[in-house]
């Protein structure tokens, strides 16, 4: 996008054809003087604007992005801008977690007759961008800022707790009997079994009573069986679910991606799973090699990992997955068969999960540096996407498409970060923070933090949590004519 060097910054505008483009025309006809930086892309309706257009522009050199549409309740297509209003407000609140100053993005409403208003909007937004200056790019972020931010320790906030005393699957035998009873009517039941070594469990597809006998329950059952569900929607399947897994199933039900009569859910109360990255870190700090685990024992709230004959006891609270420390749903929300006494969730910590808290404590520049360093490590394997139970497009993902061509094959921070934003935006209002994306990542990138931040915005704007009510409509698939919590602006 050519600009007048030294005079203009790169500002992209997405204008709806009917109101805003008309308004810009009116401003032109009326000879209202405006700064010349803005380059306009005309779209039929603000509802056509994918928030990813804005992010792609900001990540690829735009210093500012302005979106303008018809005033709410005055959309040329009746409802388009209602959807736009929700999406763009969510986007505005999402941008800071990437280190992008949300002031560089603005959305507004200008009608076809409001030439003078258009002049004011352009002048004021351009002025704001000039004050902010050239936008920093992730690829140029100062990595030493990331190191400094990582080195900062965080005050122990209200200490999150695991839900209830660990029952550690006392009801497992009863559960197995129930599964065996249901097996004949099902293609399979998905659970967990012992993996290749003592510290790994692995998904188990049960089809016979012998298969069921291999079912295990415990803190190594980290995988979310709902990941497999959407691809199996034509079959009748059973899932053994932890509370968080069941939320993914509920979300799939909300979106009608699976039908309830084809899913049989088995649950037991869950007192948390181990985050293997935390276990590895604990082992390495004691000089033990995580790839040489001989045995694992769970007793009460202690996980004891034996490496080369030496025992390493760890408190579950220290190695539990972050999501478990903030768990609201230790019991399956939907279950056809629930074995055991439901656990009462621990007092819910108001503080965000640790990786998000660390981001909150960073400045925008530090966050940019943080994501640069994380994305430099990313190998574009798409494990995050494929592990996500709600990413149902897998083989036909828009991130790999040539038409539309969102992302190139180049291994750069920009392309990889943009993929993560695509994932987060496509999950807005849908993600249940099961954490599979971060768990699956072979490079230990804290990907779930992006979605956690997105969910904070969704919760604040729409008082909504995904995957808790099978009848609820995800907020970005609908709208209110008057939005309680979105400031429509001047």
């Amino acid at each position: 996008m050519p600009v007048l060097k030294g005079k203009e910054l790169r500002i992209v505008g997405f204008l709806c054809n009917w109101c805003s483009y008309g308004g810009a025309d009116t401003a032109g006809v009326g000879r209202f003087a405006q700064p010349t930086d803005l380059r306009i892309i005309r779209v039929p309706c603000s509802g056509r604007i994918d928030p990813l257009f804005v992010v792609k522009a900001l990540l690829n050199g735009a210093d500012g992005v302005l979106v303008s549409g018809c005033h709410p309740r005055d959309c040329h297509y009746a409802q388009g801008n209602f959807y736009a209003r929700r999406r763009l407000e969510v986007l505005k609140r999402f941008l800071p977690v990437l280190g992008i100053d949300p002031a560089r993005f603005e959305y507004t409403w200008v009608s076809a007759s409001e030439g003078q208003r258009w002049q004011k909007v352009v002048t004021s937004f351009t002025g704001r961008i000039h004050t902010l200056g050239r936008a920093p790019r992730h690829a140029d972020a100062d990595l030493s800022l990331a190191r400094a931010a990582a080195a900062r320790s965080h005050p122990a906030a209200d200490r999150p707790r695991l839900p209830g005393k660990a029952q550690n699957g006392a009801g497992i035998e009863a559960l197995k009997e129930r599964i065996k009873a249901e097996l004949p009517g099902l293609d399979c039941v998905i659970g967990w079994q012992q993996g290749f070594d003592a510290i790994h469990h692995t998904p188990l597809f049960m089809r016979s009573p012998e298969d069921v006998d291999r079912l295990v329950w415990g803190p190594l059952n980290a995988h979310n069986p709902a990941t497999y569900l959407a691809a199996m929607r034509e079959r009748k399947v059973g899932l053994v679910v932890k509370g968080c897994d069941s939320r993914s199933v509920v979300e799939l039900l909300q979106e009608k991606l699976v039908s309830r009569d084809r899913v049989t859910l088995f649950g037991m109360p869950c007192s948390g799973v181990a985050d293997l990255s935390k276990v590895h870190r604990a082992l390495r700090s004691s000089g033990a090699d995580p790839d040489r685990v001989d045995a694992v024992a769970v007793e009460g709230e202690t996980l004891t990992v034996t490496v080369n004959g030496t025992s390493h006891p760890m408190a579950m609270a220290d190695v539990a997955a972050e999501k478990c420390l903030h768990c609201r749903f230790p019991n399956a929300l939907e279950a056809d068969c629930f074995v055991g006494d439901p656990l009462v969730p621990a007092a819910i910590a108001e503080s965000p999960p640790a990786d998000l808290a660390a981001l909150d404590a960073m400045s925008l520049q530090e966050r940019m540096a943080f994501w640069r360093s994380q994305m430099e490590r990313c190998i574009r394997c798409h494990a995050c996407r494929n592990a996500c139970p709600l990413c149902v497009c897998k083989d036909h993902c828009v991130a790999q498409s040539r038409d539309p061509h969102w992302i190139s094959q180049e291994d750069t921070v920009t392309e990889k970060l943009f993929f993560q934003v695509v994932h987060a935006v496509h999950l807005a209002g849908r993600c249940t923070e099961c954490g599979e994306c971060a768990r699956a990542c072979p490079m230990d990138i804290p990907l779930v933090a992006l979605k956690s931040h997105m969910n904070r915005a969704i919760l604040d704007l729409f008082e909504y949590r995904a995957g808790t009510d099978p009848q609820a409509v995800p907020p970005l698939l609908t709208f209110q004519v008057e939005e309680k919590r979105i400031n429509e602006g001047d």
Binding site: G195, F196, D197, H200, H201, T202, P203, L204, F205, H223, T227, Y228, S277, H280, R281, R284, D289, D291, R292, V293, S373, Q374, R377, I379, R380, C381, H382, A383, R385, N386, A387, K394, D395, H396, Q400, R402, S408, Q409, E410, D411, T412, E436, R439, A440, P442, M443, D444, I445
Partner: protein, 359 residues
């Protein structure tokens, strides 16, 4: 002529610093929760106690690079005339990959057969390979996912390396494996010394490492078994059921060498990019007509395992295209275990033969 030198541990940082004056020296360092190869800097703290998360292959096979740039220029006197120029970019950065393990270096040997041994050697790979030296650390004992000795490797396998390092008391014994390795060791004056006792110690250490391995499972029947099971849909659906079909295994694998070529254009100029690709992806074999010879993850996993244990050995005299490093097992989000699949295939093919002869 082979060279053997002793590097005292207190000289390690200085030696790496000396190397980095003339080379880009890639060393394994901790980053996030894992270990990756990064260019050595004054503050680098190489992690040598465990194998890196990623393989060292990116030194000779970068995850993405430009094959060439193209530029179209219109003749202002005759706008219909467009001239087109192509500018290939073949970097020749002298590099040392320090601190990988023998399994990782073995991967480079697997690459060499394909990239250098065909009808048209790959000039990009050749330039990188000619300019890259591998200084590899021998292993002391196997992890739960190590199976290098099943596939023809071992804790002190020199294949693919230029210098093999063995840890001994007080430092490392460096043995040259190639002529370039010899030249490297010849050049480093006071930091390295010759010492017969350390030489003996190193040999003993390597022998201990070899002895610490359990028995190797015989994968000899794998090549035929996998072919025999090609049409056994049930087997492949079973073993691939828990696979989530990402590409983590392929991108971390030291021997996976597949790539794709895509064009990126901006106006009249652009580039042709080569980047890593994974046979686990649906798009890998998708044809323009819409037909896909490998439409499901069962087909694709079959190809991945088949390629490593059957198709590549068929072309390269029985050499397995797996180095037994275990990364794919450790890092698979679902813990798909390639050892299990190959052993299962050998057993299943055996069962099928027995059934056929009984039936």
């Amino acid at each position: 002529m082979a060279q053997e030198k002793f590097l005292p541990i207190q000289n390690l940082q200085e030696w790496l610093g000396a190397l980095s004056r003339e080379h880009r020296v890639l060393v394994p360092v901790e980053e996030g929760g894992g270990v990756v190869f990064r260019p050595f800097e004054a503050g680098s703290r190489p992690v040598l106690s465990m194998d890196a998360t990623t393989s060292p292959k990116s030194a000779v096979f970068p995850s993405s690079h430009d094959l060439f740039r193209f530029e179209q220029t219109k003749d202002p006197k005759d706008p219909e005339r467009v001239s087109l120029t192509l500018a290939p970019d073949i970097p020749r950065t002298p590099t040392v990959v320090f601190g990988g393990r023998p399994c990782g270096a073995r991967g480079v040997m697997i690459f060499d057969r394909v990239y250098l041994g065909g009808r048209f050697p790959d000039p990009y790979y050749q330039a990188a390979r000619e300019n890259t030296l591998f200084v590899t650390l021998a292993c002391e004992s196997p992890g739960n996912t190590c199976f290098c000795h099943w596939v023809g490797g071992g804790p002190d396998d020199p294949s693919g390396s230029d210098v093999l390092m063995t840890a001994v008391e007080g430092g490392y014994v460096l043995q040259s494996v190639s002529e370039r390795g010899t030249a490297l060791l010849d050049g480093d004056g006071p930091l390295l010394s010759s010492d017969e006792t350390t030489t003996k110690e190193a040999a003993a250490a390597r022998a201990r490492a070899r002895a610490s391995l359990g028995p190797a499972t015989d994968l000899g029947p794998a090549q035929e078994s996998l072919l025999a099971l090609f049409d056994d849909r049930k087997f492949w659906e079973e073993v691939s059921e828990k696979c989530i079909n990402c590409g983590a295994c392929t991108y971390l694998c030291p021997t996976c060498y597949c790539f794709t070529i895509t064009d990126e254009a901006c106006g009249l100029s652009g580039k042709r990019v080569r980047s890593w690709d994974t046979c686990m992806s649906f798009q890998f074999t998708l044809e323009a007509s819409g037909h896909n010879p490998r439409p499901g993850k069962a087909n694709r996993l079959k190809n991945r395992v088949g390629h490593k244990f059957s198709y590549y050995p068929a072309r390269y005299g029985g050499l397995l295209a797996c180095c037994g490093c275990g990364r794919c097992i450790r890092k698979c989000p679902a813990s798909v275990d390639i050892r299990e699949i190959v052993i299962g295939a050998i057993e299943r093919a055996g069962d099928n033969v027995r059934e056929a002869s009984n039936g």
